[in-house]
Symmetry: C2
Subunit: 360 residues, 2 copies
């Protein structure tokens, strides 16, 4: 294999990145992955700068290795009180069925990094090895400041145009997130038509077109998937769903049960949980997909405020079917292991597949 | 690489199959591909047994190598005169805009192989090396007869359940057709929910679950794509879109221009052209997608009768935008070459990628 410049840039030995997953990945997971020779990651977009700093320090308490800190770069949500009120009313019966009231109003629960000066200042102080962006890019000045601080930058693309934008902005590597991927699609503009590019096509389209290193994401669950990503010209693979059942995962019992019992079959892409397209396991929330076409979905992350409240209300009555049970199309291949064991197994599988290729 | 039992079974040297593409692949293409060491294919489902026999003989006149003969195994269409009449009226203004009348009624233009005894009898006489099925499987008796005649059988799956059905029916190999693939999805039941499994996920889910050899299809355009398929555990890759611009392709000038000028970006899945989901280049027909939700689409291939008539009417006035310009998500990577040159180039690229893996 030709020299892979991404690995020394990230300071890792294995071409493997643990996907940041807000609510699932933990400092313990990130540290275990980094200690095993891959790149661990935490998602800090669901909290403020102080919470993010605490998470970064929690990882650092467990590893001296590099890890990635992931930020949400969505366009700040435009509130639309009428739309939000209609959405609340749409769900009132479901709340009532669980003995609860819906929220009186919905809030923008996540502050976008594009307008979060305190978060930027914290990152420039803490200087994690890697910062990654989802849903878009921060302003050029923020990118320049992070780069000047020696931080390696990654950003997600779901099509070639986004990849070109990322490369042109001076980002160090593109995370090519295919249609298979679990959780939120990183699409810059969720209202634009979605090309729904599968991981295989997307990765090859991007590696063929741009010179920036590419990290393949979406549907990759084992060494065979990582080897496929490398064959396509990617410099590494990013795995999220593969880590949901890890010991260090924050996934609750309902989420783990959904992953195990459904076998992960029939994941669907839905915008209803959060206001942005995201791939989810088959559960009660996923089953609502398409049944709300008469009511416009509030913007991300305003819709997510209701989604989380509904899950909390149902869970209080023992119903786990309204959780944000994100997972990719490879979910049936998930393995419940300590994260370090999973990284070792993935590395062994990858080595085997690459050795097979040598004698083809 | 471990012994690949599929290649001797098919009688080929390269782990590469040219996809059968009705209206695009030709006996000349199939023969050129087979002579170059891969498996060429012709699609005979659009004609009767006599036409299919003539095509088989046309290939045999040009190669002594093995090739595949593809059959459509859709459920025979249930006519619905009211639905068809509404569909005709829906398109009347578009026909009028091109100075034409729509057909007075729509016919089931393709006879399904599941009810085509003459086609089966012809195949048992001609005994092509390989027969492949799309849209489902023929009756068990037909499968048994073809196998008894020494014909190797392939069938398309778009999800794990279909792959299991194919394996259980005694078919020799599964063509795992991912979401990226151009043209008609091989889905057995087009009215069932579609998992939209990307090629990477689908191939790995199937290779991990069943013992029958798997042929990866969808978005594969070059040696990197073929290497990725093999890494995922597939025994070969099937490429269709990669051959549309080949010299031997029957694609007309409008189709070739659409492929070249659009760069193939933004293909979409539409059921409007033929009555079954199929991936198409962005053209005027694709742009109608979603604008007919008030009118039910007739069954496949009844709807296709209108689609072909609309294309013919528009083309007579110089408008090529209503062609069935099928293509996969990898379309921007297409290369216009003689088919034999393309096969040689793919083999060289594959060897290079496999050699890279050896030193990783």
């Amino acid at each position: 294999m030709p020299l892979n410049p991404l690995l020394p840039l990230l300071g890792i030995r294995l071409p493997l990145i643990q996907a940041p997953m807000a609510g699932v990945s933990s400092p313990e997971m990130a540290a275990a992955v980094s200690n095993a020779g891959a790149l661990g990651a935490i998602a800090v977009g669901a909290g403020d700068a102080a919470a993010a700093r605490a998470m970064i320090r929690a990882v650092r308490a467990r590893t001296t290795g590099p890890f990635a800190v992931n930020l949400f770069c969505h366009a700040p949500a435009a509130a639309d009180p009428a739309r939000e009120a209609a959405w609340i009313e749409r769900f009132r019966p479901l709340f009532a069925a669980h003995g609860a009231e819906p929220p009186a109003r919905l809030r923008e629960i996540y502050r976008s990094f594009v307008v979060d000066d305190a978060m930027l200042a914290m990152l420039l102080e803490e200087r994690p090895a890697v910062v990654s962006f989802h849903f878009g890019l921060p302003p050029a000045a923020a990118i320049a400041a992070l780069k000047a601080a020696g931080i390696v930058l990654l950003a997600t693309a779901t099509n070639l145009a986004e990849a070109r934008t990322i490369a042109a902005a001076g980002i160090d590597a593109v995370v090519a997130q295919g249609w298979e991927a679990g959780g939120h699609r990183g699409t810059f503009d969720p209202d634009a038509p979605d090309e729904m590019l599968g991981t295989l096509s997307l990765v090859r389209l991007i590696t063929a077109a741009i010179d920036v290193p590419v990290i393949a994401a979406g549907g990759i669950m084992d060494g065979r998937g990582i080897a496929a990503a490398l064959a396509l010209g990617a410099s590494a693979a990013q795995l999220g769903t593969a880590f949901i059942a890890a010991d260090e995962s924050l996934a609750d019992a309902g989420y783990r049960a959904a992953l195990a019992t459904s076998g992960g079959a029939r994941t669907t892409m839905t915008r209803m949980v959060s206001g942005r397209p995201a791939r989810i396991l088959p559960n009660r929330f996923a089953a609502l997909n398409g049944s709300c076409e008469d009511v416009a979905i509030p913007a991300y992350p305003i819709a997510y405020d209701l989604g989380k409240a509904l899950h909390a209300a149902a869970r209080a009555r023992g119903e786990h079917g309204y959780g944000a049970h994100w997972a990719g199309q490879g979910a049936p291949l998930v393995r419940a292991k300590p994260a370090a064991d999973l990284v070792r197994m993935l590395a062994e599988e990858l080595a085997l597949v690459l050795a097979e290729g040598a004698t083809a």
